[in-house]
Symmetry: C2
Subunit: 212 residues, 2 copies
DNA sequence: GGTTGACTATACAGTCTGTATAATTAAATT
DNA sequence: AATTTAATTATACAGACTGTATAGTCAACC
């Protein structure tokens, strides 16, 4: 009746490997030329695993996609946010904050776009992904709070919009580099905060393309 | 061999009716609680038509969705753009232009969101929808051109982004009214153009919520 | 009365979904 | 060494959707 105690020990390594293979497969499939190539069938096939294994590991399509997002977030240079928050200069902190997110979106652009689309088709996933954006909003509260007395909710929402993936994606278009997008976004962000336009330290290659 | 000449005459009325029923069904289904309810099967069912008829009329799923978008655009108060362009005051013209698009996005919010998602899953559709946005960009060139000597491409892209559905959708969130969103967007637009912040004539209910 | 073209009926082969049940296998425990 | 545990497989099911194809119905037109 009472189950015998059981430690996964080195079995865990195999489990982790399988899990990683599945997420990696999902990732590659979300990058496929044909967007519809993404399916649990396909993921399982490319991970050389049964579809049942995918359900076992993740429980649902939604949770697999959440895991994929989390992997991207873990890789995506978010550690640089430390730098931003440690900046003694508030304006520089803001610039670092913006640049960090632009680089994040940029590094997984196609995946983020398709992940979002999957979210629109699955409200649960949408909520899960939206929840992961809340700390971006919180960060904005902190960074903006150093430049503005008591940032209104409207202001935070504006900054949240300007640093969103959608703004990045539209602004980047087919040609603009991350640095160029950062420059444009930062211009808008500074404008919203009522700061002078020439921004602090930024790669000069993207400096002369600022809008306004 | 040579087909006998044939005018559709009053048969055309029936054809148009069928077509309209199909588009209307597509529309209702894109608004369904479950986003996945949308399918050609479902559309055909709700239009009391065979799936074959849908293919007959539109050729493909993509073209049906294009037709739906065009219907929205035709209804969506785009005629108000005349007003904007006829405004003698350039700043007021800008305000009208922004307000018109915010109202447009707002009136079909959920559909636009899901239409976009369908686009991400179908590159052909994405291109078709993107093409329909080009005249928004052209309009921005005109309206901005009245306020700025020779608007740079960067500037136009920024304005294009600020007036996009995505910006509207993110800013609107769960609670903001179209007028409130207009106020926020217009603030950003004016900032990008280097104009003073208090905007011209705008419903005062949304005036005091401007960011910055 | 013949012809045209919209719409229907039906079918096919393929893919995907979520769930269920039983079998396999290797590591962990005793 | 024998037993137990949990990951993974093997199959199956019922249902839905996709795009395409073929043949048929029917009312409007000539």
């Amino acid at each position: 009746m009472t189950p015998r105690p059981y430690r996964m020990g080195r079995r865990q390594a195999a489990v982790d490997k399988t899990r990683a293979r599945i997420v990696a497969a999902a990732r590659r499939l979300l990058l496929a030329r044909r967007p519809t190539e993404f399916s649990l069938e396909g993921v399982a096939r490319r991970a050389r695993v049964t579809r049942m294994t995918v359900y076992h590991r993740f429980g649902s399509r939604r949770e697999l996609l959440e895991a994929l997002f989390d992997e991207l977030a873990a890789e995506g240079g978010m550690s640089h946010l430390r730098n931003a928050f440690q900046q003694p200069d508030a304006e520089q902190a803001l610039a670092d904050y913006v640049a960090t997110f632009v680089r994040f979106w940029s590094s997984g652009r196609l995946i983020h776009r398709r992940l979002r689309a999957q979210g629109v088709l699955d409200p649960e996933l949408e909520r899960a992904l939206a929840a992961r954006q809340e700390w971006r909003r919180q960060g904005l509260r902190v960074v903006a709070g150093r430049l503005v007395q008591r940032p209104a909710d409207d202001l935070i929402d504006v900054l949240f919009t300007l640093t969103s993936f959608e703004t990045f994606d539209t602004l980047a278009g087919g040609t603009r580099t991350p640095a160029q997008v950062t420059s444009l976004v930062l211009g808008l962000v500074r404008g919203a905060l009522g700061l002078a336009l020439p921004s602090p330290t930024l790669p000069k290659s993207s400096r002369n393309r600022s809008a306004g």
